[in-house]
């Protein structure tokens, strides 16, 4: 627990020192932003007043983020942003990651993820502390994304950090502490039952059951020697019930007409769930300084510098191997042997206790540094409203680690009291060895001109920009480069009509000659109906705005590999001639290149309506979108003959249509001191493959055309075989020898074989078609309460772990497995086996399960002390709060002990954690 003290001291030190420096500015006059009372929205490369907005953007602001106790920003976004799907992996401390989908999936190409930009430069969403974030915007339509051109088609997530505003210095300090528990964990059966069912499985396989009494279920649970006949609950023994989290931050912000500043320090600490070791923790410290300096008249400089320092301490065995071990190591082996040694055998060598305590440990460190300098000069003398700017940004990370390794012996106590030994113990290695070394440097240089001006009823907004960006990493051709010329012109008339033309001419190094650059224009318009004179009568309408956009975007992300247009050969792949122990020289051809390869193109249309009624109490928006992605990067393996003899080239071939609707509906009101609100968002996106590399004349169920991009395919189970006669009369499986109790599949094409050609679409896509959130909150005399539900629907998951596939371990599912003379009429799952059964255990309708969920994502209760009390101790605002996340989930997988978001977590990966957090925030 030393680390948290260090963090807290560091945070305090920063806060005190910067606070002292800033003291001189405290007397600065309080000035509100005098230009406009409009709400400004973060858009691509800037901000825009709400009146001038034409695109589809959803925004999550800091206030709402604060109601989540999660320390990783990606998890906070769930349910909060219309059109954004977030699917997270497990919550291993320091290894938070998520997949993002904006408006579902618009391509089956390998590059499907949206751009993630931190203050305009590419970065990892984990490198910011949620506490320093002002807003997260999700850019969805062609108008919003136009400036990203060749990289815009998958959407963008913009993270904007907080900045200072002119006015009194504000100091905020926040301290939080939480405990975390796994949301759901599988429950395996005890050793007696396991051995009983294992014997059933062996009998099914025609195997002789060894006479070893340690494999006899009757010896268990009847008070026999607990070292020879144990029932070890590996999860219970290896895991604590909860882990801890600490989260501290301090910020100072303010400014004068000369300088505005925002300084932030934040530290988080998380411990892990493992017992018997202290080697699982995560510490991350963020520092940030965002400065806006008015150097001289009309010349401003923004200078941001931020860093994150992370340290993870883990056992050398990964969380996935430890969880895999806990979920598969036999419960009929003791926690430790009678003589204190670790239990195991040749077959069972992954003892969880050994992996946690005696595999060694590693320190995995990460350092991030992000810098941003922008100089802006207003050319008031030339043309009021015109300014020139130049910007340089970089974002770099270095991941590196040190490890000490160790191995352990396993002992199996024999019936005669002797021990059989497997493997050997070694001491922790003396030297620290390097591990996971990795670095990258993103650089961005841009410059251009901007123009913002209003004349009477006319409003202009425009820009022209050039941007060079690169990512540098180790290896050949270390700089991955992109080039973008972009600009926009928006014109608003009388706050009623807005029309905008935006375009990008951008290119990627991955393409050559005429295929390198693309022109990506978009045209959009908005009509603020409520500002029309004829709406004056309808005073219940506060806002009514219609929006429409159409444009072209690109996707240059080809997935793995670079330079698909260059023929590439490789060194290596030699041969061992003459009994030599050294390999000869070798060289070989890589994938066939395609000089004509180019980016994917997306034609995006969007229409929307925003409204606010009844004194802004009832508000909402509705968006309809239609995206057509063409030139999807495909390898035409289904139609080009194999006699070509090489991995086929990338070609621009496929097409996908993606359509959907997004709705936001909210109501907020006030009854005397009682404020309350409720806001729901729901997004639906359905993709449809229009062109796919497949041959003509496929059976309807085989063709991908017409199906969603991430549709699952599998065999259709039609119950279980009850007898050999039934098997003989049925189509033959090509997967393995079929016995009674195995799954009976539909032979869809009637060719007498059950094979891959009988696979059909089963269930829903893996990326949900429906995603939404519901937030409600209230505030009464300083007491505030909020609650967020999040959910996904129209989604399937393929479950392939031992919770449903009894083998290395078994859950109560085993009772539903076919057993002759017991439950053959009612059994749902196939017979037990100790072999790998490729017939039963493959994608089919039994294992493809509805992956929808509705979850209580966050709940928060807070109390802000009345100012008249806190002012006495010079505190502007003092709030105490308790919040929680991942509280409860309604889904179809919970009954198996699985998490619907990701059914492997908790079984072969670290589980998802519910966070219960209390905190205090003070601002001066």
């Amino acid at each position: 627990m030393n680390m948290q003290n260090i963090i807290f001291t560091a945070a305090l030190a920063v806060f005190v020192s910067v606070g002292t420096l800033a003291y001189g500015n405290e007397k600065a006059a309080v000035q509100k932003d005098s230009i406009s009372s409009d709400r400004y929205i973060t858009v691509a490369y800037g901000e825009r007043s709400e009146d001038m907005m034409t695109g589809a953007i959803s925004v999550l602001d800091a206030e709402r983020m604060e109601s989540s106790p999660e320390i990783s920003l990606d998890r906070i976004l769930k349910g909060n942003l219309t059109g954004l799907t977030v699917i997270s992996s497990g919550d291993e401390p320091g290894y938070f990651s998520s997949e993002f989908y904006i408006r579902g999936t618009g391509t089956y190409g390998a590059g499907r993820q949206p751009l993630v930009l931190i203050d305009g430069i590419e970065g990892s969403i984990d490198q910011v502390n949620p506490g320093e974030v002002e807003s997260v915007s999700v850019l969805k339509d062609a108008s919003a994304l136009a400036l990203y051109g060749i990289r815009g088609a998958n959407g963008a997530i913009l993270i904007k950090t907080k900045r200072g505003t002119e006015g009194e210095t504000k100091v905020s300090v926040k301290a939080q502490t939480a405990f975390l528990t796994p949301t759901v964990m599988p429950e395996y059966i005890n050793s007696k039952d396991y051995l009983y069912y294992r014997a059933v499985a062996m009998a099914n396989d025609g195997l002789v059951i060894p006479s070893d009494p340690r494999l006899n279920p009757d010896m268990y649970g009847v008070g026999n020697d607990s070292y020879l006949y144990p029932n070890t609950d590996w999860y219970g023994e290896m895991l604590k019930g909860y882990a801890m989290q600490q989260n501290y931050s301090a910020s100072i912000s303010g400014g004068t007409s000369k300088i505005k500043y925002y300084v932030y320090a934040g530290g988080v600490y998380q411990s892990g769930l493992y017992r018997h070791t202290d080697k699982l923790s995560y510490t991350a410290i963020n520092l940030r300084s965002n400065l806006d300096i008015n150097v001289f008249e009309h010349f401003t400089v923004n200078m941001d510098l931020s860093t994150r320092v992370e340290q993870r301490v883990t056992p050398l065995s990964s969380a996935s191997s430890i969880f895999t071990a806990m979920s598969s190591f036999p419960s009929y082996f003791p926690l430790v042997n009678r003589n204190g040694t670790l239990a195991g055998s040749a077959e069972y060598s992954n003892n969880p206790m050994g992996l946690i305590t005696q595999s060694g440990y590693g320190n995995q460190n990460s350092r991030y540094l992000l810098g941003n300098v922008r100089a802006n000069y207003d050319l008031v003398k030339v043309l009021p409203g015109l300014s020139l700017y130049a910007q340089y940004s970089f974002n770099t990370y270095k991941h590196y680690g040190r490890q000490k390794s160790q191995s352990f012996a396993l002992y199996r106590e024999n019936l005669d009291g002797t021990y059989s030994v497997y493997g050997q113990d070694t001491d922790l290695s003396l030297s620290y060895e390097q591990m996971n070394d990795d670095y990258a440097l993103f650089m961005l240089f841009m410059g251009g001109a901007e123009y913002h001006k209003s004349f009477g009823r006319h409003q202009f907004d425009g820009s022209f920009n050039v941007q060079l960006s690169s990512k540098e990493y180790t290896g050949n051709n270390p700089n991955a480069k992109q080039l973008n010329y972009f600009g926009h012109i928006a014109y608003g008339y009388d706050k009623r009509y807005v029309v905008e033309l935006a375009a990008s001419y951008s290119g990627s190094e991955d393409f050559i000659d005429d295929n390198r650059f693309g022109f990506f224009p978009s045209l959009s318009a908005a009509w603020n109906v409520s500002n029309e004179s004829f709406m004056k009568e309808a005073d219940f309408v506060d806002k009514l705005k219609l929006r429409a956009s159409y444009g072209i975007l690109g996707n240059s992300n080809i997935g793995l590999g670079r330079f698909p247009s260059d023929p590439t050969y490789y060194k290596g792949g030699g041969y061992y001639f003459g009994g030599s122990t050294t390999v000869s020289d070798g060289a070989y051809e890589g994938m066939i290149s395609n000089p004509d390869i180019t980016f994917e193109t997306s034609y995006n249309a969007n229409v929307g309506i925003d409204f606010a009624l009844l004194g802004n109490t009832l508000y909402g928006s509705l968006d309809l979108f239609d995206q057509k992605r063409v030139d999807i990067i495909t390898q035409r393996t289904a139609t080009k003959p194999a006699i070509i003899g090489q991995v086929l080239p990338y070609e621009n071939y496929g097409e996908v249509t993606n359509r959907g609707v997004e709705v936001v509906l909210g109501y907020k009101n006030k009854v005397k001191d009682f404020n309350y609100y409720v806001e729901a968002n729901l997004s639906f996106a359905r993709s449809r493959v229009d062109v796919y590399d497949e041959v003509s004349g496929l059976s309807a169920w085989e063709s991908r055309v017409g199906k969603p991009v991430t549709q699952l395919w599998g065999l259709q189970a039609q119950g279980l075989f009850q007898s050999q006669d039934e098997i003989d009369a049925w189509a033959q499986s090509v997967y393995s020898v079929v016995k009674p109790g195995d799954i009976k599949y539909a032979d869809l094409n009637g060719d007498g074989f059950i094979d891959d050609a009988d696979e059909k679409p089963i269930g829903n896509p893996t990326v949900p078609e429906l995603v939404g959130g519901l937030r409600l909150g209230m505030e009464y005399k300083g007491i505030d309460f909020s609650m967020l539900f999040s959910g996904i629907a129209n989604r399937s998951v393929y479950v392939s772990n031992n919770v449903l596939w009894p083998g290395s371990n078994m859950t109560s599912v085993v009772e539903d497995c076919w057993q002759k003379g017991k439950n053959e009429g009612s059994a749902k799952y196939p017979r037990l086996t100790t072999l790998t059964n490729n017939h039963n255990y493959r994608e089919n309708s039994l294992w493809i399960i509805n992956g929808d969920y509705l979850r209580i994502q966050n709940v928060e209760l807070g109390y802000t002390l009345p100012q008249k009390i806190t002012r006495k101790i010079y505190i502007d605002r003092l709030r105490v709060f308790a919040n929680a996340s991942n509280l409860f989930s309604f889904d179809n997988l919970k009954k198996f002990g699985l998490n619907a978001e990701n059914p492997d977590i908790g079984v072969t990966a670290y589980p998802q954690m519910a966070v219960y957090n209390v905190g205090l925030s003070v601002s001066f």
């Binding site: 050319l379 050039v466 050949n476 260059d566 080009k640 003899g645």
Partner: protein, 567 residues
């Protein structure tokens, strides 16, 4: 005026910015270490390296499916104890156009493309840059031509009607690719034979690759051996239903041509010893030797740290005659009919020395450590998932002394061609053409002398059928587990009968019959031949199906490929 000047300056700066960026996206030559086509063939190491790389496409038969099984477990010679092994699909008719575990269509066409690229550049960039000196280019050309012919043969014996590919296809010119015609068996066989002749002229004319550096490379004998094999297949009943003797004559001549030039008699003292180490006296072409223990791990009996995967059948065991058998009756009959055979100790009397290929009950596997395949024994039937199903384990290729717990390894190579095969090819072709002639007897005597067997005595006149049966049996024993029988049964058209009946094993049960003076129990063993697996062979399985996805691709382009009958 000033305003305009400012604007002009701005515009000028922007345009300057634009033009200076135009090559920003090009690869930076300072950090570009990509290897391009020209780099490969103009570099002495890489040009030759490109040829070397092709050898990796040669497929060893030790573990073709990655699950420990061998193709021999799809014949009456063996059973694979791994219930999940893909090889079982051959035994229960599980091969379909959409699924075939031995579908090598793509694999070999990938290998063939490499040969064609190399051959193209041998006269192109390599010749222009002299990256391979002119005096070495012929050998390289011979190797590439031989390998290409060998890869085509591997496809031909499986799929019957294939594409002969001798050019490098442009992946974008699909019209041109679809124009390549599917050829029938004999058209391809003739091209392979022609390429073999061409390769023979180019490759080093040495008797056997005594030069260590040559090991793994084909020498002049290799294309001759391939030619013998392909013409034997072409003459065999499957591909010669009318029994055209001209085809047999070609097969006979090809074999004789080889033997005249390359036969060298080296009687073997130990059959198994020959395969468990690298001995090149008889080897014509094999993979480059590697030190491994994968095969041992798969095939050591289960109590010795192995997985006991390949279990020879009783049917094969019954083929091994008692040692000293010299006439055809004894050699073709079951050993059980011989008077030296003891049904209570079936492995006690000495057998044909090639019986060393089999591990049987009570054999001393390691010093003072005996194999127990009886029911209840440590290696016995049903004692674990992978314990023997037949009562036997495999010995051929295996070094018993390896300590697997210490991960000890031994040199292994997979032999594609050895002289014995060509001698048997010759005997078979000759017998088919001239009947039970004295010349056939001579050929058999030659073979037996090579194999280190007792002399063959032709005590009476035998018919052509009897003689042929003996040659087939000799081939089964001599070439057991070398990947031949699977194909031999097909080309002989014997598979419908031989592979359509159960295979057998030996179930040994042990009963105690008292004890000796020290109280050690005495046992009596009872031997019972049991059915192990029922096998089915549908006539369509004489050929592999051409993969469905290829059929569909051609159909999509308006071309109907000739699928093999029955699929």
């Amino acid at each position: 005026m000033r305003k305009i000047l400012y604007i002009q300056i701005c515009l000028f700066m922007m345009i300057a910015g634009l033009s200076s960026c135009s090559d920003y996206l090009d690869k930076d030559p300072r950090t570009d270490t990509s290897i391009y086509y020209e780099d490969v063939f103009s570099d002495p190491k890489l040009a030759r390296g490109f040829l070397n790389n092709i050898y990796n496409s040669l497929q060893e038969g030790f573990d073709p499916f990655g699950d420990g099984s061998m193709l021999d477990a799809a014949t009456d010679d063996a059973v694979c104890s791994n219930a999940n092994a893909l090889v079982h699909l051959f035994n229960n008719g599980g091969i379909s156009p959409s699924y075939n575990p031995d579908d090598v269509w793509e694999h070999y066409y990938t290998a063939i493309r490499k040969c064609n690229i190399f051959l193209k550049e041998l006269d192109g960039i390599i010749a222009q840059t002299n990256s391979i000196p002119e005096n070495e280019r012929d050998v390289c050309r011979g190797e590439a031509i031989f390998l290409r012919a060998f890869f085509h043969f591997e496809l031909l014996k499986r799929y019957q009607r294939i594409f002969w590919v001798d050019e490098v296809y442009d992946a974008f010119d699909t019209d041109e690719i679809f124009k390549t015609e599917q050829l029938d068996f004999h058209a391809v066989a003739d091209r392979i034979a022609a390429d073999c002749d061409a390769a023979y002229e180019l490759l080093p004319k040495v008797k056997y690759s005594s030069d260590a550096a040559l090991k793994g490379h084909p020498i002049a004998s290799a294309p001759k051996a391939l030619k013998s094999r392909v013409l034997l297949y072409a003459a065999s009943p499957l591909n010669n239903p009318s029994g055209d003797l001209a085809l047999w004559l070609k097969a006979e001549e090809a074999a004789k041509d080889f033997l005249d030039e390359f036969k060298k008699i080296h009687p073997k003292q130990s059959y198994v010893g020959y395969f468990s180490k690298i001995d090149d006296k008889e080897v014509i072409f094999a993979t480059g030797p590697r030190s491994t223990n994968t095969f041992e791990k798969y095939n050591f009996p289960v109590s010795y740290g192995g997985q006991g995967m390949i279990n020879p059948t009783q049917d094969l065991v019954d083929c091994y005659a008692m040692r000293g058998s010299t006439n055809l009756d004894e050699l073709t009959g079951s050993p059980a009919t011989t008077n030296t055979y003891n049904p209570d100790a079936p492995y006690a009397a000495r057998r044909d020395l090639r019986f060393e290929a089999i591990v049987y009950d009570s054999m001393e596997y390691k010093v003072d450590n005996f194999v127990e395949t009886f029911v209840g024994g440590k290696d016995g039937l049903g004692s674990s998932n992978n314990a023997t199903k037949t009562g036997y384990y495999l010995q051929k290729y295996i070094t018993r002394s390896l300590d697997l717990s210490k991960d000890q390894t031994q040199m292994h190579h997979w032999i594609f061609f050895r002289t014995s095969e060509i001698m048997l090819n010759y005997a078979e072709a000759l017998c088919m053409r001239v009947g039970a002639d004295a010349s056939v007897v001579t050929a058999i005597k030659d073979f037996r002398s090579m194999a280190g067997l007792s002399t063959f005595r032709n005590v009476q006149d035998y018919t052509q059928e009897e003689m042929l049966e003996y040659i087939k049996k000799e081939r089964r024993i001599e070439l057991a587990f070398e990947g031949h029988r699977f194909w031999d049964l097909r080309r002989w058209k014997d598979a419908e009968t031989v592979l359509n009946r159960p295979v057998h094993g030996m179930k040994i049960t042990r009963t105690q019959v008292g004890a000796d003076d020290n109280g050690t129990p005495l046992y009596k063993k009872n031997y019972e031949i049991i059915e192990v697996e029922n096998r089915t062979f549908d006539p369509k399985m004489y050929w592999y199906p051409i993969p469905r996805k290829e059929i569909l691709k051609y159909r999509n382009a308006g071309i109907e490929l000739k699928q093999n009958p029955g699929y």
